[in-house]
């Protein structure tokens, strides 16, 4: 029997079977299950593959690079916006190159199912001038890991593997291959390429630039990009990654009719594209995310009318693709005849019943008539749902850690009673540095760390903040008199309101740690957290 795996799990199994020695990651939908799968894998345990969560995507990628430096195969996994956090090391390790195979897996989230934007990671790959692989289905996600590691070692470059939500979170039966041995330690012959002082960096950057034509050659010959020319000339299709499935869904009965270029590897195979372009009267580019391939085609050919896609508005510029959108773009109109009855009400997500965040928001809301209804800066996590009715507590959500620094900026501009609400794990991910900014200037802000001892939104993973928040805040320089703790429970409502009111009156940095474990934590997880806290104190 085949193994039934999510796209994310297939990729993870592929990494294990391709000789992985360590995965480094911070949880983020839709990428989380990749690392979780390796954490649960018996084989990974036996092989002593590193699987512990990192504090954020930047620390994760740097650790993966360190593992690659000693010659082992490593993988770093994140959601698309996580790559923004890791972009510093990402851009520079393409210049230094890698030693052991290093694969950067980034899961994009078109349609923003669980994200704040639709950024397309292929732009980052292009920016860093490294190869990008884009599987169309679960089996390819598995198979590509072998190629990705080999390729990375051969070229001494990191390889970007791009997933999208729909592939990450869809299951299929997978045929597995035999497992490769892990690499032994083998330090780089010459370490100077990892020391990017300008004189070395210039040399390395030249090498990177010179690899470009080699990368294009690989993209043409690896077999991952496949061109099929048929006699019909009216329409040529370029389908990237998962878009290929939506194309085939619509034309598989009649696929001999169309000329198709299936793209799973970048940089683009220019010759293949040229052949398709010259053969067909019209080219349609179908790609998930931004119209990056379509734009490149316009650069190549300078013929606006012949190239169709998102820029020509044949396909919507926002949201994820689906078989119906692609059918329409191909001129095949297939739609259901039924509509959603208008009595159907929307059902947005909401905080779980009994969630501690709700009690915290009720406490803050009690003071909103006094302080105004635009003073609460939020952050990334379940508590972002506090921006929705009936709570309506939170006003902003931008990126990991922005609550504290935005509150500081607002206070700098004269806002009184600026409040930041940030989760425990988001705080250790990217809040600590901002808190130091605020402490350094003693900015009049009140930071509430809503500590549920978990990375809750992505499935209650272990938080590096557990048992450490108090000491971190003191270490950063928060004054002990203004480092408070509250338990967000109904019975404490009045005293919590008084505590918050008191700290709002203080014209400097206050931190209130609002402590209550996530209701989603299992009994075992809660016990583990307790013993961890005990071991730290």
């Amino acid at each position: 029997m085949k193994s039934l795996l999510l796209g994310n799990e297939a990729l993870a199994q592929g990494a294990i079977d391709a000789g992985l020695s360590g995965v480094y990651a911070y949880p983020g939908t839709p990428s989380t299950e990749i690392t979780e799968y390796i954490q649960r894998s018996k084989t990974a345990k036996e092989l002593q593959i590193h699987t512990t969560w990192s504090v954020n995507e930047k620390t994760a990628m740097e650790s993966a690079l360190g593992m690659s430096y000693v010659g082992k195969r490593s993988m770093v996994v994140m959601k698309h916006v996580g790559l923004n956090v890791a972009s510093d090391v990402f851009m520079n390790m393409s210049v230094s190159g890698v030693n052991g195979g290093l694969v950067v897996v980034v899961a994009d989230d078109p349609s923003m199912h669980s994200s704040q934007n639709e950024q397309d990671s292929r732009f980052y790959g292009k920016f860093a001038m490294i190869p990008i692989l884009e599987p169309a289905n679960q089996q390819e996600a598995y198979d590509l890991m072998f190629y990705a590691f080999d390729f990375s070692e051969e070229l001494k470059l990191p390889v970007l593997l791009r997933m999208v939500t729909r592939l990450s979170h869809s299951r299929a039966g997978i045929t597995l291959k035999s497992r490769k041995k892990q690499n032994d330690i083998a330090l780089p012959a010459d370490t100077s390429r990892f020391a990017l002082i300008p004189m070395n960096a210039r040399k390395q950057f030249d090498k990177l630039i010179n690899k470009k034509s080699l990368l294009v050659e690989y993209a043409s010959n690896s077999g991952l990009n496949q061109l099929k020319i048929s006699e019909e000339k009216s329409l040529g299709i370029i389908a990237c990654g998962i878009a290929y499935n939506y194309v085939m869904e619509n034309i598989s009965d009649n696929d001999a009719f169309y000329s198709i270029l299936k793209i799973s590897q970048y940089p683009l195979p220019k010759k293949m594209i040229k052949r398709l372009y010259e053969h067909c009267d019209k080219i349609i580019v179908i790609e998930e995310g931004y119209p990056i391939v379509e734009e490149l085609l316009h650069n190549y050919f300078d013929d606006n009318d012949k190239i169709k896609g998102k820029l020509s508005e044949d396909i919507p510029l926002t949201g994820e693709l689906n078989p119906n959108i692609v059918a329409q773009a191909l001129g095949i109109h297939k739609r259901g005849s039924k509509t959603v009855p208008n009595i159907v009400a929307s059902r947005p997500p909401q905080l779980c019943e009994g969630c501690g965040h709700t009690d915290l928001f009720n406490t803050i809301n009690e003071l909103i008539p006094e302080i105004g209804d635009k003073n609460v800066f939020g952050d990334i996590g379940c508590y972002a749902l506090g921006s929705l009715p009936p709570l309506n507590t939170i006003n902003t959500l931008i990126d990991m850690g922005a609550s504290i620094t935005m509150a500081k900026g607002a206070a700098d501009a004269g806002m009184k009673n600026a409040i930041a609400v940030i989760g425990d794990s988001t705080f250790t991910h990217s809040g600590m540095t901002g808190l130091l900014d605020a402490v350094y200037e003693n900015s009049p802000i009140t930071v509430i760390i809503s500590d549920n001892s978990a990375i809750a939104m992505t499935g209650a993973q272990e938080s590096t903040a557990v048992g450490r928040l108090h000491n971190i805040c003191l270490g950063i320089g928060v004054k002990p008199d203004h480092l408070k703790t509250m338990i967000p429970l109904k019975k404490n409502h009045d005293s919590n309101v008084e505590l918050l009111r008191g700290e709002l009156q203080y014209k400097g940095v206050s931190v209130i740690i609002s402590e209550r474990p996530c209701v989603r934590l299992s009994r075992d997880q809660k016990e583990e957290i307790k013993s961890k806290i005990a071991s730290l104190s």
Partner: protein
């Protein structure tokens, strides 16, 4: 053979247990399967769905096209209606009768049932109540799977085998009760408006 099933409900209601039972049964029968699901923010009490595609040929899209679902199986009646554009003209809709009300403007229940009944191939089962009688309201999922088993082109044997596999780490009693729930659903659906069924 090519079957498209949409499972629907509210985050936390456990539609993925039904999906897993279908997936495993399909693999037992050596069929191809693709099953997409929702992870992340919507799981917090929001509307969730899973597209399950089973075929003896290669399956391309992870998503079912509009108008191509043979069955919508829902653990919540309003959530069933949300996916009507996906249903084939002569497709089936099967749902638990019990509403999950966590939104202020939840419609009148009778209106929901009226909408469902407009479609000839429907079955409304009080799955939660039946599951409670068997031992645990959480087994409503298996009641619904049983109720849909007439429509699903997988053998009863594979489905039961799959349920056994799914709960293999649980107690024997729990496995037995889940299988019982499956058969209960099957029985209730067979007796439901028989003239119209199958």
């Amino acid at each position: 053979m090519n079957t498209n099933i949409i499972l629907s409900g509210v985050g936390g209601q456990g539609i993925l247990t039904i999906a897993a039972a279908l997936d495993t049964a399909a693999l037992i029968e050596n069929l191809n399967i693709k099953q997409s699901e929702v992870h992340g923010m919507s799981q917090r009490g929001g509307a969730v769905q899973s597209h399950v595609r089973i075929s003896d040929k290669e399956i391309f899209s992870d998503l079912i096209p509009e108008g191509k679902a043979d069955l919508i199986l829902s653990v919540e009646p309003m959530e069933l209606l949300r996916y009507m554009p996906f249903l084939k003209k002569k497709g089936w809709i099967i749902t638990d009768s019990k509403p999950f009300i966590n939104t202020a403007n939840y419609p009148d229940q009778e209106q929901i049932y009226d909408q469902i009944k407009k479609h000839p191939n429907h079955v409304i089962v009080n799955a939660t109540d039946l599951a409670k009688e068997i031992g645990n309201s959480k087994m409503a999922n298996m009641v619904l799977l049983g109720a849909a088993s007439h429509i699903i082109p997988l053998s009863e044997e594979s489905l039961v085998k799959s349920i056994n596999k799914l709960f293999k780490h649980k107690s024997e009693k729990l496995i037995r009760l889940n299988v019982e729930a499956f058969y209960k659903g099957k029985e209730v659906a067979s007796n439901y408006n028989k003239a119209n069924f199958i």
